[in-house]
């Protein structure tokens, strides 16, 4: 169930909020929130919700075991088992086909017989809730959190619907206490409303609008792309993915806030980064800090020589690529990002830092665009064709696809809004306003703050209304003739 679907917006969310706030006490509310979250998941995944339940049950028991044997020799095999169970789930459902195909390729080289490639359904959100579950057991093992005896709390941590299917990957050490001790305030709820509205707007009004154009461009044969069209495809997809993903994170953070949870930020204006390293410190922060703390850290240990750190970085990036999807383009995207980051650590960043600041941004943005082309391409050949077209190496006449087709008023407006919203203009203006308000006489400050808040609320209202219109319009599927 997508947050931008009519079922979620017009049925699920109103009902869940109404019931949740009408229940007395946190225990009842948690129990209901768990029920709602499991319903949310099983609505789309049906029997695969059993996988989520298995993950919850296994990690709940393993966390209790780990807590009991923490600091003992028995602790290590238990945590090893927990990691194996979680990665096993991910491996079976996400990577079996990919690895079998690659194995068959190798077998083909030595004349071996190809194995049948299994086609397993990949349950939505598996990568997210698996990492979240691992964070729970590992944090308990490390003494950074207490294991919950009440399975409802464990289940709620792993399956809480706002972040269940697309993150952010909430860390147990950050959220564990809030499961049993959180406060619901009107201010928090109102802030959640605002954040949810902004996220929904990012997804529905910007990302989905750009997706139509970028999908058309990436679906076009590579030899029919002019340089202009290819660049537009790269720009549109870069903005689309950012607003889609960060929009989902905003919605998750906003929904969490309505229910009294405080999630950490997942995006921090990555498109203004001046290096690849900075980009990934701003992009999908919950995932990359997870990788840092649970993969890179343990790989390196305390006194890791520089060369090993760099090799480990490449390993982490290869895994990051694989986590995003079991295809060669994701592997290439991960490895290429890792190589650039290692080069930046060695010498490239020093060079870039000497450049004029706008050129530094151009460097960061250029790499983002290139990365997104690889990320979006379905095959390596397609990525190469896009790069060739972007560099003017194609021989397309522009008769079939030309830039004018993808530069109509709606797209230009959306890109302009997107470009503005991808930079911290709004928070800068808001902070400046708050600063000015702080300088007013005390008796006028409240009025000024309320005025600012009213304007902000009006903007949220307009965004929500525009989203309601767009979501409704998507349900409209007319035909010229009556369809039977």
């Amino acid at each position: 169930m997508a947050f931008s679907s009519p079922v979620f917006l017009f049925v699920f969310l109103p009902v869940v909020l109404a019931v949740y706030f009408s229940l007395p006490g946190l225990r009842l509310r948690n129990a209901f929130l768990l029920l709602a979250s499991l319903s949310f998941y099983s609505w789309g995944e049906g029997v695969y919700a059993l996988l989520l339940l298995f993950s919850i049950a296994a990690n709940h028991m393993l966390a209790l075991l780990v807590a009991r044997h923490r600091g003992e020799r028995a602790g290590k095999p238990i945590i090893g088992l927990a990691v194996a169970v979680n990665l096993g789930l991910l491996g079976v459902f996400k990577y079996t086909g990919f690895f079998t195909e690659n194995l068959n390729y190798l077998l083909g080289l030595v004349g071996g017989v190809a194995l049948p490639v299994p086609s397993l359904h990949l349950p939505i959100g598996l990568s997210f809730f698996t990492f979240q579950a691992m964070s729970y057991v590992i944090d308990v093992y490390r003494g950074q959190g207490q294991a919950h005896r009440n399975p409802i709390n464990t289940a709620l941590y792993i399956s809480l619907f706002p972040q269940l299917i697309l993150g952010p990957i909430v860390r147990y050490r950050h959220i564990g206490r809030q499961l049993t001790d959180r406060v619901h305030t009107v201010v928090g709820f109102a802030e959640g409303v605002g954040r949810f509205s902004v996220g929904l707007g990012k997804k529905v009004l910007i990302a989905d609008t750009l997706a139509v154009a970028s999908d058309s461009i990436f679906a076009a044969p590579g030899d029919e792309l002019t340089a202009g069209v290819a660049w537009l495809g790269a720009v549109y997809f870069t903005l689309q993915l950012y607003f889609d993903f960060s929009g989902y994170s905003d919605m998750a953070i906003g929904l969490g806030r309505m229910f009294g949870f405080r999630y950490r930020e997942n995006f921090n204006y990555p498109l203004i980064a001046r290096s690849r390293g900075e980009y990934f410190r701003r992009w999908h922060v919950s995932f990359f800090t997870w990788m840092r703390d649970y993969v890179y850290g343990p790989l390196c240990g305390k006194n890791c020589p520089r060369w090993r750190r760099n090799v480990n970085l490449l390993i982490v990036w290869l895994l990051a690529g694989l986590w995003h999807g079991a295809t060669s383009t994701f592997v290439l995207w991960g490895l290429a990002s890792g190589i650039v980051i290692v080069l930046e650590r060695i010498w490239l960043l020093q060079l870039v830092n000497r450049l004029w600041r706008p050129l530094q941004h151009a460097y960061g943005l250029g790499l983002s665009l290139a990365g997104m082309v690889v990320f979006r391409s379905e095959t390596l050949e397609q990525a190469v064709a896009m790069f060739v077209a972007m560099l003017g190496g194609g021989d397309a006449s522009g008769e079939t696809f030309n830039s004018a087709m993808f530069l109509h008023r709606e797209l230009v407006f959306t890109v302009a809004v997107g470009a503005l919203a991808a930079t911290p203009v709004v928070p800068t203006v808001r902070d400046w306003l708050d600063g000015r308000i702080g300088l007013l006489p005390v008796d006028q400050q409240n009025l000024a703050r309320n005025c600012r808040l009213l304007v902000q609320a009006a903007v949220w209202g307009v965004i929500l209304l525009a989203c309601a219109l767009a979501v409704s319009a998507r349900t409209y599927t007319p035909f010229v003739y009556f369809q039977f």
């Binding site: 201010v187 008769e399 109509h408 767009a470 409704s472 319009a473 010229v480």
Partner: protein, 383 residues
Amino acid sequence: MKRRNEEKKSNVHVAIAGVFLAALWVSPLQGLFGFVDEDWKMEERRLASLPEDEGVVSLVVNHRALLADYVRDHFGLRRTLIRWHHRAKLRLFGRSPVSELIIGEDGWLFLGEKDPLDDLRPMTPLPGYLFESWEQRLHEVSRWADERGARLVIVIAPSKQSVYAEYLPERVRSFAESSRVDEMLSRLAEQDPLDVVNLRPVLRAAKRNHRTYYRTDTHWNDIGAHAAYVEIVNRIAEWFPRIRPKPLSDFRIARTNQPGGDLARMLAMTEVYREENLRLKTVSPRLARRVGIRPSRDETSRVRREISFEQENSDLPRAAMFHDSFGQLLIPFLAENFSRLDCRLVGHALGASWNLDEDAETIDTSQPDVVIWEIAERAFERR
């Protein structure tokens, strides 16, 4: 300072929370208790319905997809929100809110399919399977007519954009120059020539005097249909010299202002896009009289039907016509030129399955001298 501001509750926060919760419930409450307008036929499809005698729990457990479809089609305020969206998008961006439709110049609307650019874009060569499928279908009809000793004339009704390309948006105008039909016909001509009336030149010529297509509908109007009729009858007159088409001067043009046509309906804007309809009223009394009209035996079908006309003059040949929606307006004209005309509406453009024996069952008994097989150009674009 910022932190302190966040924590300080004000009436505005209360208002935000309250308005949001209230707004969330507007749609569900309207859906549950609001007036449901059954006249919503803009989408030309059956809206999702739920199985009877199923409880909510059973629906959620066993029919989630159906329930999602039902919510999608019936959530409260849906029609209002859709109309607002369409008007806002049109006004702000001048863009079609429906992807299958192109907003042209001066209030002209055009049909595309999925991505309108795809239909208009110069095509890669016609896929072999498509050509073979149509070739097979056309020859099947030809054989069927031969076996009955009837002459066959195949009539292709041009898409609006291939007659009125000048009203297309500039970015796609040049795409309308070529058509798959041209390629299809030239390839067919290389093999076994069929008698095909390509009406595009005729309609392009006729538009110099009067508008030949509706602005807000996919079809030709009475004047366009008349131009097509003249061309068809002239072709048939080569075999049956007794028949002559009625000239345009035998009719007077009546102008009516009416709600927009099928394309305006797709936009849910039949009142915004109104149509000035040019209707042809015959000056002299009609000779042909309707002798039969039958809905299809298929009870789900609303559009398939048969209709027959007869007149006293037995010197005139008998004709049968298989046609799609374009052919509807040809019928009153053609009926005047044949002693009997049997018409059978078939859904070429709908991609309906083709079963000549079944479709021609009633026509077969009338033993026509001429078989007219009319088909819209856009049917050839279907992939």
